[in-house]
Amino acid sequence: MKQLLILSGKGGTGKTTIASAFIKLAQAKAYADCDVDAPNLHLVMHPFPQEKASDYHGLDKAVINAEACTNCGICLDACRFHAIEKHETSHTVDPIACEGCTLCAYLCPQQAITMEKAKAGELKLFSNGDEHFSTATLLMGSGTTGMLVTKVKEQLKQVSDATEFAIIDGSPGIGCPVIASLTGVDLALIVAEPSVSGISDMKRIIETSAKLGVTIAVCVNKSDTNDELSSRIETFCWKEGIFFAGRIPFDPMAVRAVNEGKSVIEYSCDSGTAVRQVYDKTLQMLKETIRR
């Protein structure tokens, strides 16, 4: 299964809008949403007859047995995550702050601390015949986002490994969920935005992808909101030898399409036409990458 990942660095540049259009244009049989702490792709994908949900457990969290705790404070001093709170007769653990290192349980002289399973999110697999869509939701404030992203991709691979290629919607930023989503990807399409913020963020995601050895292509969304900066992005790509997949103009139709649970390519509009061209170029690039 070859993987095409849609990324952006900066949020809100149009990753999900473009991913959903690509999925429809490719009539993709395998796709995933790796933006587990703000997933949206399921909102524009049609209902699926089959849905499988499973709990995702991150690392076990510490729990203090109040009866056994003597309030000695050893755990409080040792915890680097400020997860232990002192109360009048015993200490407690803040499950949001606890990262599951187990040090407190190891050090407690009363063995009053146990590590317990904690639900950190929910994995979902939607299916329609041989078409599969893998997604997940992280529980509020949870860590181990990268691990959940890896599970989303594994879940898709298990059911769709024989499928020619998969389209994956990524998350903003450059940290652990992005690194996890980039692992094993054949091509990452970066959706840039013509603004000083967009350019700065694009450069940081390009560097992150390069560090992980992933080939990239760039397109500019909402390009006519600042033509000069769009040209600057295009020039930057030529200079750096990065494949430039095209420009997509700002289109109020994109907002309408999203709100109707549809994709821009289902309407005859400027952005729809431009997305089709970007899709053709990206696919051509993906084929070349695979051949190499």
Partner: protein, 294 residues
Amino acid sequence: MQASIMATDPTIAILSGKGGTGKTLLSVNLSSVAAMATYIDCDVEEPNGNLFFKPSREFEKLVTVKKPVVDETLCDGCHKCVDFCAFNALALIGKRLMIFDEICHSCGGCIYVCPQKALSESERPIGEMSIGHSGSVRCISGTMNIGESSGVPIIEALLKHKDGNLTIIDAPPGSSCLVTESIRLADFCILVAEPTIFGSHNLAMVHQLVTLLGKKHAVVLNKTLEGVNPSEEYCKKNNIPILGNIPFDKRLGKMNSEGRIAAREDAHYHKLFSAILEKALKEVSDETAADPQR
């Protein structure tokens, strides 16, 4: 405790769940209309606030985390640290201990469990931070190094430099541990939402987060257009106060794309952001009056 009674100006965090809804736009402009403010850019993966403020650089430092280092003459390959590490940041290859810095959470556990006292800790840089000024705004910003996985220690370092001034925190997108850390010290949260079902869905997620953390909050609607606004509907249904509405405006988009601060250049936007700040401060003081414990 005299210090806790002494009045300090509030800390307001700006967050959104979905990226690109206008967190930095709102944070930068609200900071600019205040008589005096401290702006803290907690989006350390993709920091953008300083592209607007272009502040002086008065203070800079590396942000480091602790990492284990092995003294190979003492390590006898007993495996205890490898078994202990919940993050799989340690491995024994033959008799040689390997330490994977990027995976290490700096819990310090391996140091405790080593019977040979072969492990100690040293500092490893994961990013940098800076403090400067732009007009009446004190700007605190941090940048995570490329390839690092967690910016939480950088956010912690930034928040240590918070002062008694009105503080505006520009949070990262999402609803994960990074956001929780960013809004830890906030007295009030402003959720910025876009007029799409993506916007309202992610608004619901951060709304759940601020409710879980017991933070008082309100919404600002951004990029509003004619027609239905699913985010506005969500607010009405859930009785969330709306502090203001920033209509979609190509001119504002252009200024923002060029890193210009609309409230500093344009009387209309100065007025619009001042009104939002005033309403937010009123909501915060209502909260303080209602809760004398604070």
